[in-house]
Symmetry: C2
Subunit: 212 residues, 2 copies
Amino acid sequence: MTENDKLTEEKIFESATEIFIEKGMDGARMKDIADHAGINKALLHYYYRTKDHLFNAVFEKMAGLMFKKFAPVFDERLSFEDKIKFFFREHITFLQQNPRLPAFILYELSRHPERIKKLIQNLDVEKLWETLEKQHEKDLKKYNITKENIPQFMTSVAAMSVFPFLAKPIISGVMEKIGYNFDEYLEQRKSYAPEFILKAISKTNRDELTLT
Amino acid sequence: MTENDKLTEEKIFESATEIFIEKGMDGARMKDIADHAGINKALLHYYYRTKDHLFNAVFEKMAGLMFKKFAPVFDERLSFEDKIKFFFREHITFLQQNPRLPAFILYELSRHPERIKKLIQNLDVEKLWETLEKQHEKDLKKYNITKENIPQFMTSVAAMSVFPFLAKPIISGVMEKIGYNFDEYLEQRKSYAPEFILKAISKTNRDELTLT
DNA sequence: GTCTATAGAAGGATAGAC
DNA sequence: GTCTATCCTTCTATAGAC
């Protein structure tokens, strides 16, 4: 019955994932998870001992999944511009399939910041930066991306892709009211965002701006 | 003792605000709020009947506060460029003083989307757009901001300012690891963001881009 | 491995004295 | 208006039968 064990454990894990993402750690009920999996509460504890254990399993799996989506950008043998375009297309498509994932991850992280160390200890940011520098030294110069402003740039890229999902209720609420469609907006964003980013960091016509 | 009543009720409200923003509706405990206010649980119910009532009072106050921060942009007799600069300076400064507010509002909205109607019913988006069009018809043309892409533009502006606070645990976690400082990052962002936005929407040098 | 029944604790809410 | 004491429900977790 090892086959069956696996199935039950997986069923529990999948149900837990759905419920936790939907209601958060504090709002989720073990009964909801059991019902959703078609079993009883006792079995949850048989497989995962406590709610905390179960939550941690779900959280780490999902957080890992989300951040892995950033990785291909560094491996691909794409031009700098194509990397940007590739990222937005892939990342927004992924989030369309998991629209509540960013809010779940970021909210639970802000409630329990101690989880972060575990999350980023396997993430060697300096190595990634070096890789990018090696691959695109000229592009980085061309676009004026330096060690000083790389955080500004990276967070702007992430913001352009993730924010629509974090603010989905408001955005789609407002859009609905004035005749726009949120799904179309997301499709457009896959090309709008990379164009927006690349123009923002291009070095030309700086003198045209009246910024002080 | 009406003076005293007011004080107690306010003390409760302020404590509730702090606890709810810190722990969310589901994570907050009436006992925590009472302790924080230096009173006992029964008094909470005397003033606000239920946890739901108390939460709603806090939520509506805070949500209103946050969205009101967007308003001055439309009133000011500023140039279009100055409006953008003004917005980021004021909004980021406000969020620096209330760093957990965006996560609180957006997360509770995504848990209870029915709250949205009440929030935006007083917000006449089309009127605002008309106002902006009247004030800056030439600028909107110059920057190619049209009825078609206004949602893309507006959400990009919001994203640039709000996202750093939503993702603060990750951003500051990563930054700490590689020797950057989150507070400095925020200060820089007040000028980085408007420059970024204005360059992104400027019409020149479009031909230089290799976008397909 | 899976179930029913229940322990044990916690949380929201109320009664009633002052 | 404020307090103590307590009710009642809900929730996590476990015991024990099958």
